[in-house]
């Protein structure tokens, strides 16, 4: 694809950012997928939690939130509880 020589700089930067965020191997793969799915669809995926501010250790900040519940569980009970709603 010779798109790279013709698209404008902002679009190139957006494509590079989108490729990185979405985990594509390269920008060409991302572009192919964007054409197929529509760029808006990809942006929506990327921004699933973008409305919230990020912090390095937000999970550690509530360490032990479920410690008591987990300690009460028998071996494999968590796995069974997770599956239970699907059966």
């Amino acid at each position: 694809m010779k798109v790279w020589t013709t698209i404008d700089r902002d679009l190139k930067e957006e494509l590079a950012s989108l490729s990185k965020d979405m985990g594509f191997k390269g920008e060409t793969d991302c572009l192919r997928e964007a054409i197929r799915l529509g760029a808006e669809n990809l942006r929506a995926q990327r921004s699933l939690s973008a409305g919230l501010s990020k912090s390095r250790d937000s999970i550690l900040a509530v360490a032990g939130l479920l410690a008591e519940e987990y300690e009460r569980m028998k071996p494999r009970e968590l796995e069974l509880k997770t599956r239970a709603r699907w059966k």
Partner: protein
């Protein structure tokens, strides 16, 4: 870039790590529980990136928290996951469904596992971490199928979603490529 899918059960365990357990892990190299050690290993590396879960797995985990804990804890849980740096939440997009049907109809795996694996396949995940034996077995079974005969979308599913031949071909190729290289990380239960 390597991307690991973290299943709902491991997600829950990350929140079961108390300060005391964490101190034990830092001081003695173990929290006293293999399952929590595994969750801590992921937890301490989350901010570096390369980890993900799906909105579906997150919903599952929230559901368990609401049932075994309470709704306030479930809300805190959800917020902490969404705000965690380096942790991607993968969307359940329309393309996940034909793949999930294919996994169920071709390999007989459960609906839950099929949807999780569909999200992982579409989103560029190359490792699935889970303590659920059935899920890990299913991922390995489909990975083996992808390497030996490729992923095929059944005709009935192609018709159901109105996929063109070319769309089916692209989806099959992408799934075959992703699942051939998909690894499993079996976490202690």
């Amino acid at each position: 870039m390597a991307l690991t899918f973290v299943d709902a059960n491991i997600l829950f365990k990350m929140f079961a790590v108390s300060r005391k357990r964490l101190e034990g892990y830092h001081e003695k190299g173990t929290s006293g529980s293999k399952a929590l050690d595994h969750a801590i290993d992921i937890l301490l590396n989350l901010y570096r990136g390369g980890y993900s879960t799906s909105e579906l797995a997150l919903l599952e985990a929230c559901g368990v928290v609401a049932r075994v804990g309470n709704i306030d804890k479930a809300t805190l849980f959800l917020r902490a996951v969404l705000e965690q740096e380096g942790f991607s939440i993968l969307g359940v997009t329309a393309l996940v469904y034909p793949l999930a049907y294919a996994f169920v109809l071709e390999y007989g795996i459960g609906a839950r596992d099929a949807l999780h694996l569909g999200v992982a396949t579409i989103s560029g995940v190359n490792r699935v971490a889970t303590s659920d034996i059935e899920f890990a077995d299913g991922v390995e079974k489909i990975g083996w199928g992808a390497r030996s005969r490729g992923i095929k979308i059944p005709r009935i599913v192609e018709a159901m979603y109105g996929l063109s031949g070319q769309e089916r071909h692209i989806l099959e190729n992408r799934a075959t490529s992703a699942l051939s290289k998909m690894e499993t990380e079996r976490a202690p239960p």
